[in-house]
């Protein structure tokens, strides 16, 4: 699973810590998701969608979808 969280976060000038606080997770978790080391649960993915105000498919890309 790929994601555009790092880009979306940079566009909003948020630090990893800012995003972590908005999501209620640790900075390590945000870092692991951005680096593709961890795929978030569905509830966390929906929280990320809500924080960025974008459809989920614009944030996460399933690798088979190209």
């Amino acid at each position: 699973m790929k994601n555009r969280i790092r880009v979306l976060r940079a566009e909003r000038r948020w630090s990893q810590q800012d995003l972590a606080e908005r999501l209620g997770v640790s900075r390590q978790t945000v870092n692991a998701i951005e680096n593709g080391k961890y795929d978030p649960s569905l509830p966390l993915a929906f929280k990320i969608r809500k924080v960025f105000g974008l459809p989920i498919e614009e944030i996460f890309v399933y690798e088979d979808d190209g």
Binding site: V25, K37, P40
Partner: protein, 187 residues
């Protein structure tokens, strides 16, 4: 001239306070131990490896970490007092049964504190804890099966209570190493 009266409750409180302070200092003396490390380069967020390896949790930077440290210190002090009471055979007679009840009660306190800690973690931290638990559990099962086989097959097996304590210590060592390993995999 007034004489100070010995107050066991106050003494216990003082000892507990010292143990808690020492434990919290041990796990937070270095900022590297904190799960939220300040001033860390963007795009890099290391886990508190030393704390994971030696203490089995993510440090005292968060309220749930501090709470776990506090209750672990209290339960450890209680278990140590109970162990000393049993070892010194004091008091003699049925009074010693108190220690036999206190020791498992302290383990229950530890377990409850740990469950509450797990519930307060975020999903990745909790996953890392569960993965490490699985490895430690599997390792302990293998060692226990080996000991059982030894007990049944050796002509004169030399097994005693110390083996059980050793297995607990070994399981904790394996859990610490597994925590550091799985945290590294998610960095």
């Amino acid at each position: 001239m007034t004489r100070g009266h010995y107050n066991p409750r106050r003494s216990l409180r003082a000892v507990t306070g010292i143990v808690i302070a020492e434990f919290e200092m041990a796990v937070s003396a270095n900022s590297e131990f904190e799960i939220e490390r300040e001033g860390q380069e963007e795009g890099r967020a290391s886990w508190p490896y030393a704390t994971l390896l030696f203490f089995g949790f993510f440090g005292t930077a968060t309220p749930e970490g501090r709470r776990l440290a506090r209750w672990t210190a209290i339960a450890s002090a209680g278990a140590a007092v109970a162990g000393a009471g049993l070892a010194l055979e004091w008091p003699s007679g049925p009074g010693r049964l108190v220690w036999a009840a206190v020791a498992p009660a302290m383990i229950i306190v530890l377990a409850v504190a740990y469950v509450r800690y797990l519930a307060a973690l975020d999903e990745l931290a909790r996953l890392i804890q569960f993965q490490a638990f699985a490895v430690a559990y599997g390792f302990t099962m293998v060692v226990a099966a080996g000991l059982l086989a030894y007990a049944f097959t050796a002509p004169d097996p030399d097994l005693h209570a110390g083996w059980a304590a050793g297995m607990v210590a070994l399981a904790e060592l394996v859990r610490g190493a597994a925590l550091a390993f799985f945290a590294r995999r998610h960095e």
